[in-house]
Amino acid sequence: MITMMSMPAPPDGVLPETAPKMRVENLNVYYGKLQAIKNASLRVPKNRVTALIGPSGCGKSTFVRALNRMHDLNPSVRVEGVVTLDDEDIYAPGVDPVAVRHRIGMVFQRPNPFPKSIFDNVVYGLRIHGARGRRHLMELAERSLRHAALWDEVKDRLNHSALELSGGQQQRLCIARVVAVEPEVIVMDEPASALDPIATSKIEDLIGELKKDYTVVIVTHSMQQAARISDYTAFFLMGDLIETGKTRDIFFKPTDKRTEDYITGRYG
């Protein structure tokens, strides 16, 4: 048995199992000739938080970018394998990547609000998808900002530039922006890595709320964070998906020696 004194207890494993919202099968991702993901397979259960952990450069970010076809933007990246959303392959011929990204939202490592007002940021996706009318948009904006626990901090300055906000507020704004378009899955790529501990804990609380309505996939380099917020965990090492399972199992009884080594701090 591994000693876990410094590790907070993972969420109680009593949540019932849910059907997979997404499935990844035999995923390979190449940057030119370099293979960044090697034959990875994963199930992402609905309305649960799935954390991807592993040392820097292990392919976590590369993996999640395959989930919403963000790699399409970079012609030197090649993706092979099957990724399904509700049992439909999002890489099948004829599937519109824009429609995929509408259903699978993404929050990035560094907050990336647009150089526009707070209001215009939140309703950006709504406008893109055809929503009109100041009043209607205002209602949706308030709902999204409340959802992202940001409303009380910005309600009096919605017309101010989003760039005036602190890093943590900007990141919650980016979450509100994603929530506004009501995706089914929210992918987060180390959303708290550029934030201070207080802002981080706000984001973590928020993720716990989000899983009621959304399926969440989160990349984190912090094992503590994975343990605190996730229901399922996948461990990556040098492009290989080593082990996946319930977070509590991964942390308390990993089956692979390499997972155990990482959990107990034997890798960087």
Binding site: N68, M70, L73, P75, V98, A99, R101, H102, R103, G105, M106, F108, R110, N112, P113, F114, P115, K116, Y124, G125, R127, I128, H129, C174, R177, V178, V181
Partner: protein, 264 residues
Amino acid sequence: MGALIVYLAYMGLQLFVVDHVSPLTFLFSSNFAPDEKHPGALVFIIGSVTITLFAICVGGPLGVAVGIFLSLLAPKRLAGAMKPAIEILVGIPSVVYGWLGLTLLVPLVREHAGSQTGFGLLTAGIVLSIMILPTVVSLSEDALRAVPVALQEGSMSLGATRWQTIWNVLLPAARGGLTVAVILGIARAIGEALAVQMVIGNSAVLPKGLLAPTAALTTEIVTDMGSAQEGTVLFHSLFSMALLLLLIAMALIFAVRLALRRSA
């Protein structure tokens, strides 16, 4: 720089102070007769403003469009090959553009646009549009490339198409740099003398349309500078025209800044 403007202003105002020519005559008369103390520069003002506006309206949007293509849409290899090519085009002397205009464009306009001579506002406008294009392309490409990739990803990840992303995020984010690109294009167009002189026809009459031969402030200065004796009305009117060129350039640049700030 400041001293230059002061000198230009001093010399440019001689016409009104020493020669007692009314500024209204200078600005609003189309009869350029400096020997009769009646140097009306309206023809040249209209010529300069028309060809410059033409160049901005054609070369500006086209240049920004090519900049968008090269920075965001073109395959890396093509964009990489085009970049130095366009930078070379920026450095081509204006006499070369004028020469190509004279030998290629003038016959083309004569035969296809229904102009008698082929010389005139249209030809000069086209030459200027082509001339400012590399400047606008190069600077707008740089401006768009300077927009962080994270903004593009943020927009695309919300289900925006590439065009929606360009239109709603990238162009507004690059607005400052695009403004500079267009302003430098204007500066190049309004100040151009040689290439314009080679194709505009150089007749000091009000043009009756885009196809008519006429003259511009710059071309008139070039045409008359050899025969202008110091202290004469002609000499002073050329200085006034130079001053006016400066003022028009400043006004256009101010207008572009204002327009782009409004659209924010």
